[in-house]
Amino acid sequence: MTATPTIVLIGHGMVGQRFLEALADRGMTGDAARVVVLCEEPRPAYDRVQLTSYFSGRTPEDLSLVEADFIEKHGIELRLGDPAETVDRATRTVTARSGFTVQYDQLVLATGSYPFVPPVPGKDSAGCFVYRTIEDLLEIEEYAKNVSSGSVVGGGLLGLEAAGALKGLGLDTHVVEFAPRLMPVQVDDGGGEALRRTIEDMGVTVHTGVGGKEITAGEDGAVTGMELSDGSRIDTDMVIFSAGVRPRDQLARECGLEVGERGGIKVDEQCRTATDPAVFAIGECALAVDGRVYGLVAPGYEMAETAASAIAAQETAGFTGADTSTKLKLLGVDVASFGDAHGNAEGCLDVVYADSRSGVYKKLVIGQDGTLLGGVLVGDAEAYGTLRPLTGSVPPVSPEQLVLPAGAGGPVSIGPSALPDEAVICNCHNVTKGTIRAAVTEHSCGTVPEVKKCTKAGTGCGSCVKALTTLVNDELELNGITVDKGLCGCFPHTRAELYEIVRTLRLTSYEDLLASHGREEAKDGDGCEVCKPAIGSIIASLAPTLGASGYVLDGEQAALQDTNDHFLANLQRNGSYSIVPRIPGGEITPEKLIVIGEVARDFGLYTKITGGQRIDMFGARVDQLPRIWARLVDAGFESGHAYGKALRTVKSCVGQTWCRYGVQDSVRMAIDLELRYRGLRSPHKLKSAVSGCARECAEARGKDFGVIATSNGWNLYVGGNGGADPRHADLLAQDLSDAELVRLIDRFLMFYIRTADRLERTSAWLERIEGGLDHVRDVVVHDSLGLCDELEALMADHVAHYRDEWAETLDDPERLARFVSFVNAPDAPDPSVRFVPERDQMKPDLDLLAGPTLPVRTLEGTVAR
């Protein structure tokens, strides 16, 4: 080769991005080849499969599929918003809209598809949309703000997602499907019927067996309604067309590449176009050798890998066709279909289980020899992870046992362990069980996240994560790697289990718990620094309900607390402490500000504004703490719990009261929440914020629980975090009244406290727990475990029994006795806590601590150096 070749990719969608990754994996980027990407959309590849999650709070950035430094690291030239306009195959030149031209050695078309809009009159009226890109969604969201009803043309997968989105935007929603049932491609009549009932129960009106005949518009050109083919009419303010997609092959046609009769660029097994060996086509724009155009992402990914291998001159199995099994959650309903879902094979038989009452429909297609050929699952697709890999084999148990609900048909749970190594577990990335096992045995992955990273399994739609987790844990166990989930060397239980033990047995003593539930070898020991504060926190969280002392420093409890909790202040590097009084919502009077200033001045403390809208005073010796707090309590301050694994602050913006954009009183709500949850001991610290409008000045989505005002109430976000591993909070529920908001936060916090691990922030907890956000929503919003009454009662107990720890400490001479530097010289200050000046304040004298020569204060009181 004389020079580095140039590879040009047209289209940066999901498949395009996967192609780039495949090139990078094969060393075909950077110095090996010039890679140029022309992308029509204004943003790099994003997860179109999860597009609808934009409406439940995921931002376009969240949906991105391109790791931050990927493009740069591999030296790829990505031209956003600059689509290819012409291809000249004679000179191998591509010209983009901007006039940019590039000559290619290899050209890859990944132009995807476009939404099909049926040729009904009025289809171009204002208020008609398609549902394909983030830009489409932004436009729909904007338009929906001013209207009250919407209709979706097309009752397939995307159509139902669009209907869900309209419903979520508060619109009266209709779905119009020409076929006699919903999702005609994926499910059969029975499944369609179950789906219809469930979706109608949600308040969506479903019209099947009819088509849109005409869209009517008012004088202003905006949609007013839709006439249907049966003569009926729907009054509607907007229409979303979701009647299928067509391969986007215009560019290919124009440059003379052969396309199929019904569209799609003809390619061979290597994904090379039938016409020109220098041009490839992958994804939804390609017509595969089996004569099909695949609209699913998994086959697209397979084509991307195939084309990349061909370009890298590597051996490849080629792409000859793919499994079109799918599992999805539509409007909260599980829908799955796999294999020969419609029973097209000769002589095959159906096994059907249907429960109209609960909207569950399951059908398996079984061949004459007992082979599982395919199936449809609606309402309960739990078994999909097992059934799909079993397709093509004779299942180890009888088919009816596979579809009957648990308890009705005997042993139904054949786990992933029963599957053969060739079974594909992750369909999105085509990862087999064998590959996953090898990740554990050969690549020493010890956790599910490591296996995900190593194999990509579970990083697509996520439906296989459960099976993946089981497989990984089984494999670890088989290899003698015991997954000890115990809290520490003293207890074999997890924190969540210990919480349940303490709660149900009403244990209020660490010693009793260690004696009754500790590991054999630790029962007579002194515990450790891991479990003591964790148990102390559990007992403190449950104290009002257990009838234990809520004061964290009484009796045996005192010995469990970390030094910060022990002295109700934050230990700093030179052994001094810092003090943070509570300033609820960040609102403070001038008088109180002056008190803080005076206290800091009088005790010589260093002051700094915290990130949580409070004021931190540094440099207090242990023996000064009571005197400082006496002044603060006197002025009406109370503990800010900056030292505890507890609620820290609820930040706020000024909200509606002052801000011209505000739509609710965010300060009042922040104060209410802070006062309600102050002092609540939890597995880790808790931070919160309330924003008065969508501009989000309080940064609520970076908090454990964040509240954002809407014109209708409050949206509640959970699981946000800043710090080393930032995470935007997820929307838990929207448009809540004050009372609904508080009730939901009560439940959420108590469920977190109950089930989280020690030192596990809500963000990590949400990522870890099985079922994730959906599960948490089921539990705290829909009360799926029947726990909500209890969770609310626990919080009510907390609120009723809250007392300020510092006021209580000051009131009790015995409690005050611990605040001395030396037990044998209570009046002597600690000579090692010294300060030097800096920027008009002071800082710890670290030189003093570093050296072997110490300032000496003898018992007699003489100071010498």
Partner: protein
């Protein structure tokens, strides 16, 4: 060394041995098992004194060698393989209460002081 502290002595006095003799610390009731106290030594140094669950006293230097801060008395105690230790409240390194050896870094240790519980003051009166 004369006893100068005005503390109720229930079961005697915890003492630690310095190069100038035995130094009274406090009554055992002045200590919570699992929790330490700091003691100012006659030479101006500091010791950290702990009581384990069985009521046995231990004393080590109060200075955390990793940070230089005099804070070991404020750490949490525990036991590993039957041996008592304290974890520094700053960066959590553990120190054996009987030998002063750091369990997380063999090259570091803190001084250890001999301790005893002296008979009740009442007996002397």
């Amino acid at each position: 060394m004369t006893e100068t502290l005005e503390r109720p002595l229930t079961t005697g006095t915890i003492e630690l041995r310095t190069d100038r003799g035995w130094l009274a610390v406090c009554a055992p009731s002045g200590l919570v098992p699992g929790r330490g106290v700091a003691v100012l030594l006659p030479d101006g140094g500091q010791a950290a004194v702990f009581l384990d669950r069985a009521g046995r006293p231990y004393a080590i230097g109060n200075r955390d060698p990793f940070t230089g801060a005099y804070v070991l008395s404020r750490g949490l105690t525990g036991s590993a393989d039957g041996r008592p230790y304290v974890a520094s409240p700053l960066l959590k390194q553990r120190f054996d209460l009987e030998t002063g050896a750091c369990l997380d870094d063999a090259s570091v240790s803190v001084p250890v002081y001999e301790t005893r519980v002296a008979p009740e003051a009442a007996a002397a009166a």
